[in-house]
Symmetry: C2
DNA sequence: TTGACAAGCTAACATCGTTAGCCTATCTTC
DNA sequence: GAAGATAGGCTAACGATGTTAGCTTGTCAA
């Protein structure tokens, strides 16, 4: 029962401002002083609302997981069992929210401080579409790999990423 | 012709010490003061050998790319055209050198400061085994995704990663 | 009216990368 | 051999970062 105390309005404002900074300017732009500015207070006062900076980032992760889950659920809402539309939605979310995507999916995850269930919910659509957990993990790895390599600019300039996505999805689709 | 001036012995010592710190303690343990300690000088003196901290990290990336390329070339040296041994080598390298792997493959890449050719060489074995560049990218994304998600502890505790690898490699293998 | 508490503030600390400026040994050049 | 340049070390310090300590003030309960 790790039920978080419901966030105060002021704390919600802070998270909203933090999300705005993150999405616009990236993770390293999100400093306590900058965040304080955005919300009209000095950096130390933020600590009246959050124990540390990590807590703010974790709130953003919760939010990111939720947004991502919603996008993926939408993608399989219609008919359902095709991998392609889910993959499209995954990639689209990452490109629409690159900084948020990175925050949520890259680096060590403070799982014990996360809102419970949020991670499982985001993973559910893929598990449903693939059926098999092993295949689901393989597909997840493929999709995350494609997205993060693209966001990090690791593919050569001329690379046809649509074709790479297609190749992966085709062969990885459950039969 | 971006030929780097050959590194002085002292600079090589510094890079070696940096690699040691990185591999043992991870990227955030690699600070200029800590590195100075390891090599017996004060932090500012390091700037007599490298223009900035990034230059040290870039030297480590060059080294990481080279080591990784060597490991992958070894893996396909024998018979050759099977994907499975290459994938095994890829995963093994990442698990043996997690911090180095992360430094080399995650985050933005300062491509213009890298030793020329080093990235292409590391990519070559996979391209040879898959034949097709699109498939090669898909397989790379899969392998990197598997590895980085494993290193970051993103898979659930009980997950059978061998099975996920097998599922991915089986379906992604060129026929 | 009093007292507690929530929520702001300033000042300050340690750590980080980095710069400025100084010193000294070695090596080149007349 | 003398003189000057250069390589390579040093200390002091700067600005940015997250964070803590301690003060103040307004609001609400007893």
């Amino acid at each position: 029962m790790t039920d978080t105390p419901p966030r105060s309005p002021r704390a919600q404002e802070i998270v909203a401002a933090a999300l705005d900074i993150l999405e616009r300017e990236g993770r390293e732009a999100l400093t306590m002083r900058r965040l304080g500015d955005a919300v009209g207070m000095r950096a130390p006062s933020l600590y009246k609302h959050f124990p540390d900076k990590a807590a703010v980032e974790i709130a953003l992760m919760d939010e990111g997981f939720a947004q991502m889950a919603a996008a993926l659920e939408d993608a399989i809402a219609g008919e359902g069992d095709a991998l392609a539309p889910l993959a499209r939605a995954y990639r689209a979310f990452a490109k629409a929210h690159p900084h948020l995507y990175r925050l949520v999916t890259a680096g060590e995850l403070p799982r014990d401080r996360l809102l419970p269930g949020v991670e499982v919910r985001a993973a559910a659509p893929l598990l449903r579409v693939t059926g098999d957990p092993d295949l689901a993990r393989a597909v997840w790895a493929f999709a995350h790999g494609m997205v993060i390599l693209e966001l990090d600019g690791r593919f050569p300039p001329g690379a046809d990423l649509d074709a790479a996505w297609a190749a992966g999805i085709r062969t990885l689709s459950p039969r």
